[in-house]
């Protein structure tokens, strides 16, 4: 686990998006995920990650 710090040595700004093969991930859009989850009556799984 990395404690988040603005002093992170390898902080990046733009990062390649890695999509899981088997799971239909929505990228960087909580409002869309929330809307879909309400409509489909499903919980939202959220992964917060960093490219460094």
């Amino acid at each position: 686990m990395k404690k988040v710090s603005i002093f992170a040595v390898f902080a990046l700004c733009a990062a390649p998006v890695v999509t899981a093969a088997s799971l239909p991930f929505i990228q960087d859009n909580y409002p869309t995920a929330l809307s879909q989850a309400k409509q489909r009556k499903l919980p939202i799984f959220v992964e917060v990650w960093a490219p460094w």
Binding site: M1, A15, L23, D28, P43
Partner: protein, 377 residues
């Protein structure tokens, strides 16, 4: 951890959740991060969309077993018609953990207190309690609770997580009788965790690094070196399956050497990674920093230049140029260093994330000021 989400065993969960990936650095995700909190990466949440309440929250990497249990727990928090009081307190603790860890610790304690001895979530709640004590900077209760609760636990991922959190709390304080006593209990448990195949790489990394920090704090560099060598040997034995994994291994190597060790020990691996990932400027940046630490200044500058040719984006460009300027300054090439810093400043002004932009600009301006004053950057 990212590779784990590709695991075939998770396919059965595909239709049971809406899946969301949030990059910590993407400005559009600020609102979520501020609302739900995330002080570490990775951090995982299950959110009930009806009231936007967190039903499960976990900072840090998980094994496949832990992840499936986490998904089950999160879904149960959304769908279960009636939860036991202990389950409800556990869920409340998870909802509080990000923003109010001291209150989360109280909720976890209450869950443990009210649950029957056979409660299946007991060890999870104990691990979460230690995490909450760590997150609320309660170092002594954290380390002592970890030592007490981990000892009788089943030897699995939750056990390793508990030991890791306890060790981090010991690194956050100066040596004292209470911390030495906790260390005497936790260190053998850490060795047990390292002997388990279930202990994920992030936890192994944390165990070795915390033991190194603690050894350095006790002025025992020999012991720090031994832990460092053990971890580097393990890292060298891992064959990365992806660029993400290769990068993670290299970051672990660098962080290891930054605590204590010889940077030349890891240069071959970093050089190999730079060759293996020809589009990855971070691989060049890591190499440049370690070449510099090894006093290979010309090689460090060359690595910066290779990174700059790898389309690094504004943040990466600013970082590479600042690193190059530091090395040029050490070499006494102050005019070239200043030019690199001026280019770095220009790049930093284009960083989209305000926090990263402000911090980068501040650091470059500070270096420019020192450069004008003739001081070392």
């Amino acid at each position: 951890m990212r590779d784990l989400l590709d695991h075939a065993d998770l396919a059965r969960y595909a239709g049971q959740f809406v899946w969301l990936d949030l990059n910590y650095d993407t400005p559009e995700n600020r609102a979520f991060l501020e609302k739900f909190g995330a002080e570490a990466t990775p951090t995982f949440f299950v959110v009930d969309p009806q009231d936007e309440q967190v039903t499960a929250m976990q900072p840090g990497a998980m094994s496949l077993t832990e992840l499936t249990q986490f998904l089950d727990r999160g879904a149960s928090g959304v769908f279960a018609k009636k939860q036991t009081p202990a389950d409800a307190e556990l869920k409340r603790g998870d909802a509080l953990l990000a923003h109010q860890p001291a209150d989360a610790a109280k909720a976890y304690k209450e869950a443990i207190h009210m649950a029957p001895a056979t409660w299946p979530q007991r060890e999870l709640a104990e691990a979460s309690l230690v995490q909450a004590l760590q997150d609320s900077s309660q170092w002594q209760p954290c380390a002592e609770t970890a030592a007490t609760e981990a000892a009788p636990m089943k030897r699995d991922e939750i056990f390793a997580r508990t030991v890791v959190a306890g060790l981090w709390c010991l690194t956050s304080t100066d040596p004292a009788p209470w911390s030495d006593a906790a260390l005497r209990k936790l260190e053998p448990l850490a060795e047990e965790a390292l002997s388990l195949s279930a202990t994920v790489r992030d936890h192994r990394d944390a165990i070795y690094r915390t033991l190194m920090y603690i050894s350095v704090n006790h002025n025992d560099k020999t012991e720090a070196g031994k832990f460092g060598d053990r971890w580097l040997a393990e890292l060298d034995a891992i064959k990365p399956n992806s660029d993400d994994e290769r990068s993670a291994l290299d970051i672990a190597r660098v962080e290891n050497v930054q605590i204590f060790g010889d940077p030349t020990r890891i240069l071959p691996a970093l050089r190999a990674s730079e060759r293996a990932m020809p589009d990855n400027y971070n691989a060049s940046l890591r190499l440049a920093q370690m070449e510099s630490a090894a006093k290979h200044y010309d090689e460090a500058i060359a690595a910066c230049d290779r990174g700059l040719a790898r389309a690094p984006g504004a943040n990466g460009r600013a970082w590479l140029l600042r690193t190059k300027a530091q090395v040029l300054t050490i070499k006494g090439q102050t005019a070239e260093a200043r030019r690199a810093l001026e280019e770095a400043l220009q790049a930093a002004q284009a960083i989209p994330n305000k926090g990263s932009r402000d911090m980068s600009i501040k650091r470059i301006q500070m270096a420019l000021g020192q450069s004008a004053g003739g001081n070392k950057m």
